[in-house]
């Protein structure tokens, strides 16, 4: 047992992954035990039931339909919003006038609950892909814009000056100094954007769709099927987790010097 404990306290990647798995396992076991005592199944559903509900959804084919609807919408919209976000960020960082006029407008828009516009987009664009696409785009674009601008602004001044004294053109400075410097910032913005995109898609699907995880969650909750609600929530959580880990490792890869 001591050997196991010592192994778990190591600083390797395997050990830390095992630690995380262990703590999740603990939570699941406690949850299962508590649900032995709390028998109101509306309040608390044991994890085993959630798993069973998920398996049943997969067997019925609902999972596949919902996954296709959600993932196509969220991925397309996410990619477009990253592209647009980087473009706007570049424009803001390159022009002082633009950043002074557009910046406050953008930050005002950012602090307004865009989610509240969901019913409006559904009314405009109908139920289905288009309304989801626009809503996700609007919530996901801001973090990318902000981080792109901040990253381009944050480039080391001495490095730029060094490049300039070597007679580098503006374009060369951009491609060899400022942009590589800004990349990890941009990726951290993209990571936030992915989390936001998932929120956007769920809200859009609450109102405006016939398929998708958000739709499935709402319809399950209307039949008081807590197990099914939680099952879909876990699927969404897994999507968030995968995205977060992927972008975090990309960030580390792009900026090995930015270790905390």
């Amino acid at each position: 047992l001591r050997q196991v404990l010592e192994f778990l306290e190591q600083d390797t990647r395997l050990a830390s992954a095992l630690r995380v798995l262990l703590s999740i396992l603990c939570v699941l076991i406690i949850w299962q035990l508590v649900s032995l005592f709390v028998t109101n199944r509306l309040l608390l559903v044991p994890p085993a039931d959630v798993g069973a509900a998920l398996v049943k959804e997969v067997q019925l084919g609902n999972m596949w339909n919902n996954a296709v609807a959600t993932i196509t919408a969220v991925v397309t919209s996410f990619l477009v919003s990253v592209a647009i976000g980087i473009a706007i960020g570049l424009a803001l960082a390159s022009s002082r006038l633009l950043s002074l006029t557009g910046g406050p407008v953008l930050s005002a828009l950012n602090s307004v609950p865009i989610i509240a516009l969901a019913p409006l987009f559904v009314a405009w664009l109908g139920l289905g892909f288009a309304s989801k696409f626009v809503l996700v785009l609007l919530v996901a674009v801001f973090p990318v814009v902000v981080t792109t601008e901040a990253g381009l602004r944050a480039a080391d001044k001495p490095l730029i000056e060094a490049a300039r004294s070597f007679n580098a053109t503006k374009w060369q400075i951009f491609t060899t100094v400022t942009f590589p410097y800004a990349l990890p910032f941009i990726v951290s913005g993209v990571r936030v954007a992915w989390a936001r995109a998932l929120v956007g898609i769920v809200v859009a699907e609450f109102f405006g769709s016939f398929a998708g995880f958000g739709f499935a969650i709402l319809s399950a909750s209307q039949t008081f099927d807590t197990a099914r609600v939680l099952g879909y929530v876990f699927v969404l959580g897994a999507m968030g987790l995968i995205g977060s880990i992927a972008f975090a490792s990309l960030e580390r890869h792009l900026a090995p010097w930015r270790q905390e």
């Binding site: 995380v20 910046g103 609450f206």
Partner: protein, 280 residues
Amino acid sequence: MATISPGSPVAASTAADDLPPAGSALMRADVLRPIVLPIGTALVVLLAWQFCCDYYKIPPLALPAPTVIYHTLVRNFPLLMEHAAQTAYEVALGFVLSIVLGAILGMGIAYSRLFRESVYPNLVFFQLIPKVALAPLFIMWFGLGSESRLAFAVFMSFFPMVLSTASGLSNVDPNAIRLCEALTATRLQTFIAVRFPFALPSIFNGMKIAVTMSMIGVVVGEFITSQAGLGYLILFAASRAESPIIFAAIAVLCTIGLLFFGIVVLGEKIVLRWYGTPTR
């Protein structure tokens, strides 16, 4: 929002001070510029909007003109205010509760290693779930009343507070802590005199995120429960295809959001001036 940590480049972003001054005469009035330019842009957008609506005869159902929205807002003012009061009350209460909860958890994380290592990973893991997806569950747990929206708002907004409190309290200048230790200050004294004032900018950054999240939580809750509040009004108007009411309600919602945000910013200014903490 596990990824926005206060003090990260995102938080300390738009400092436009260190740029070379632009030469144009328009840009000369340094003081007025940050006020005039955004308002000017907003006005231009509004005018263009109005013009498009009038010129292309866009039906108000699709996109009502700003004047139409304004008239709707004036005509339905009592109704809007009634729902706005409900929403604002829940947002404020959710925000305050999340500050309390976030501060307690954040202090726990900053001060106790055991607490940090056992609770913090679980909290972070929870943040990766799109929390909005859990809104229907809160309705099932807490019923259709105000409690479910309040609980959901707190659930949405407490995490930025935890994160910012914890990181603010632990990222204190080590020299200041060492000085306190040399002067034999107790832990409480160190907390009051050093850690807390140092953490304040970070805590206020968290509050700025939390107030927006609380607002989103309440509005999404109102979308789903549909009893009262601006979210309910928006959904109700959407189902009756009354676009001007939707826009008027959204305008009120934005005003409330900006108001709360402004209060936090104002509080930050006052408190930081009182403490004399240098803002970077």
